[in-house]
Amino acid sequence: MKLTKLAAIAVAAVTAASPVLADLVFPALSYRTGPYAANGIPFADGYADYFTLVNERDGGIGGVPAQLLECETGYNTEKGVECYESTKGQGSLVYQPLSTGITYQLIPKATADGIPIHSMGYGRTSAANGDVFGNIFNYPANYWNGASIAINHLLEINGGDISGKSITLIYHNSAYGKEPIRTLEVLAEKHGYDLTLLPVDHPGQEQKSQWLQIRRERPDYVVMWGWGVMNPVAIQEAVNIRYPMENFIGVWWSGSENDVIPAGPGATGYKALTFHGVGDDYPVYDDIQKYVVDTGKTAGAGDQIGTVLYNRGMYAAMLAVEAVKTAQEIHGVADITPAMMRDGMEALEMTEEKMTSLGLPNFGPAFSVSCENHGGPGLGGVAQWDAESGKWNMISDYSPSDMDVIQALIDEDSAAYAAENGIESQCN
């Protein structure tokens, strides 16, 4: 008797909660636990808070309230799959998989299910080719843009010539960390710098070997593709060996407060790429304070507002909301479907006026998405850390990357994927 009852409860419990219709559903595959929780929390907070803001301030998007379906992945691929399967039936409009592994999982699945994915600044870089990856978007910038932007920055501070300079890439020894290698190699041929590769195994708690090598070889610049605990340890070690911090540039996933604060004042001068604004000096934060914080509706503890990763989460939510608005315009329906959402994302246009009207002037690059180009123009900027004020400062505009080089790489990789999976052109 007891057993059957238990079984019944179990079956009922395993089946996920029933879908809420008539809402715009945004699943959030967040990771507030596990090895990368420190980075996952601010992003998830930012993503959630922006939807709360839209609901509280504007009464939803086009009059339809947004609903956030948060599902904890712990940055774990299998849990990501479980989250996807449990949320996709509930009208989910767009997925932010938030991990390279989960993105790769979901690319074929979401494509089959007709739900768009927005992997913003991560995931499969060649998904920028919308002709092959019809449902996948990675605007406004991808890893290969990032690598190029870093090199462009070095070109800029060297008056356009970095031939003969030595650059070391220190990277997380995983698919993610290996992303920039090919781009950097191609660019090395073009610009004539020497590239040294230094992998760091997960988790990267111990990097003495790598940094002793950097100390011995004294490269002119160090570029970092780090993640998780690898970042603060690397920055700390760089401070320890007194490497000139202004010659040390991290990708956007190596540029949060979590990464620099542990190294203390020595970290001042460290640079990181970014494709969105830093700090909380934007009008939208007044609204967030008023509608979200003061009403006690923050997703997390509310202590992350204005941090780099919070801003990124908020930026992702903002882009999703704008895509919904675009879709609503195109299809003339307020309560859109995932397929309409896809159309909206593909027609998304972010202009300076739009961002200003949202209270986010110059928060991100202006860009537009097209059927062929799901990656945007690949604009990005550089921010620099100032430990004394505890702030990141933008030290460059959103500037373009070397699309000649990158587009060729994207075409090559996506063509291979299309051939392997028998995908036909999506744009004709």
């Binding site: 179990a10 419990a13 395993v14 089946t15 996920a16 909660a17 967040s30 507030r32 636990t33 929780a37 929390i41 948060e70 599902c71 904890e72 712990g74 691929t77 299998e78 799959v81 479980e82 399967e85 449990s86 996709k88 039936g89 390279t100 592994g101 790769y104 999982q105 690319i107 074929p108 699945k109 494509t111 089959a112 299910d113 499969r124 870089t125 060649s126 020894n173 995983s174 698919a175 993610y176 290996k178 992303e179 090919r182 195994d201 997960h202 790489l409 990789d413 291979a416 994927y417 392997e420 999976n421």
Partner: protein, 369 residues
């Protein structure tokens, strides 16, 4: 009253050694098989309740595949007594072997059949397993467990480092091409849930039967002899190295099959460090110990526990109680940890033993004395 062996006389040795000596157990077994093989696929096909994809991709597939791997590890740890923490690496071997085989245009044959791919992946993994099993002749117990971590870390490093293994793709991710078995697509996102489910289920059943057959005969007894007392095993003519290596081989074969399925059918895309990292090795060991060392049934129950319990807890706490996801995730750890400890205190020999005791009670019920 009804759960009895009396009156159920065994007249041959074959009948005496059958898997389910009690009639009711046998019937239960056939009922479960019928439900699993016929009813569930029909429900999945008709998409009863609209959850076919969820049930298949989030529950059935991981459970079935982990059960295969868990049986594999149980042969090594439970039957042969050799602690191994290299399973994640061996699963990776299975996965990458299947990837290379699937993307290999075989001369004269062309595309290999998926079942052949899975079996060959198992064979390749068995070879690797035997290689890394060699130190077991000299190293024992926890020392061996730690030594097998060398395999784990080395294999992950290797698959990450050598581009040949991932066909020189830009990021090092491997993605499965679509493959069919008997005309039904079983890999890729567009495969029908019931096809994937049935493939994994049939493989699990075959693996369980083979494991049962191996462990009930000469080879199984030689493994257990090594486990219980290696000196006495030698005295009855069991060659220690050969026997240990055969356990490593068989165990790795199953784990390799599981790895191939894990990548090709369940995940569809994988990256070695993330999909087959050290935590997978530990997870598999938990399944084996929680389920019951030296029990095929226990392996399956252990896999069910470790795969389903977190999903169950999550769905209760987040789906029904509407807790914040992070608090639920933390509680998930607390509860799973506490349950593991509780089960061990109640019955150190695993869930399978708990079940056996329950049956023994039932056999005597209602006259326990």
């Amino acid at each position: 009253m009804f759960y009895r062996e009396s009156g159920d006389f065994k007249t041959t040795y074959a009948k005496d050694t059958q898997t389910f000596p009690i009639k009711l157990d046998r019937m239960g077994y056939y009922v479960i098989l019928a439900v699993a093989l016929i009813l569930v696929p029909i429900m999945l096909m008709k998409d009863v309740g609209g959850g076919a994809n969820y049930w298949t991709n989030a529950i059935f597939l991981p459970f079935l595949i982990w059960a295969v791997a868990s049986i594999g590890l149980n042969i090594l740890v439970g039957y042969c007594g050799q602690l191994s923490l290299g399973s994640g690496g061996f699963m990776a071997v299975g996965a990458y072997a299947s990837y290379k085989l699937m993307t290999w245009d075989v001369p004269f044959i062309g595309e290999l059949n998926f079942v052949v791919v899975v079996i060959l992946s198992g064979v390749i993994t068995a070879g690797v397993g035997i290689l890394f099993g060699l130190p077991s002749l000299r190293i024992k117990g926890f020392y061996l467990a730690v030594a097998t971590l060398a395999a784990q870390f080395f294999l992950v490093w290797l698959f990450n480092k050598v581009p040949w293994f991932y066909n020189y793709s830009a990021s090092g991710q491997i993605s499965v091409p679509t493959r069919s078995v008997l005309g039904f697509q079983v890999t890729g996102a567009t495969a029908a849930p019931e096809a994937k489910y049935l493939l994994c289920l049939v493989i699990l059943i075959v693996v369980a039967l083979v494991a049962r057959n191996l462990t009930r005969g000469r080879i199984g007894r030689s493994w257990m002899a090594i486990r219980d007392m290696d000196i006495a095993a030698e005295i009855i003519g069991v060659a220690p190295l050969k026997t240990k290596l055969s356990a490593f081989g068989v165990s790795s074969f199953f784990i390799g099959v599981a790895g191939a399925l894990f990548f090709a059918v369940y995940l569809g895309a994988a990256e070695v460090g993330e999909a087959f990292g050290i935590q997978k090795s530990f997870l598999l060991l938990f399944m084996v110990i929680i389920g019951g060392l030296g029990s095929i049934f226990g392996s399956i129950v252990g896999a069910a526990f470790m795969v389903l319990m977190p999903v169950l807890l999550k769905n209760i706490m987040v789906g029904h109680l509407n807790w914040a996801t992070d608090i639920a995730a933390h509680f998930e750890f607390v509860i799973v940890g506490a349950l593991i400890i509780l089960f061990l205190i109640l019955e150190p020999h695993g869930l399978a033993q708990l079940w056996r005791l329950l049956k023994d009670k039932l056999r005597l019920w209602p006259f326990p004395h």
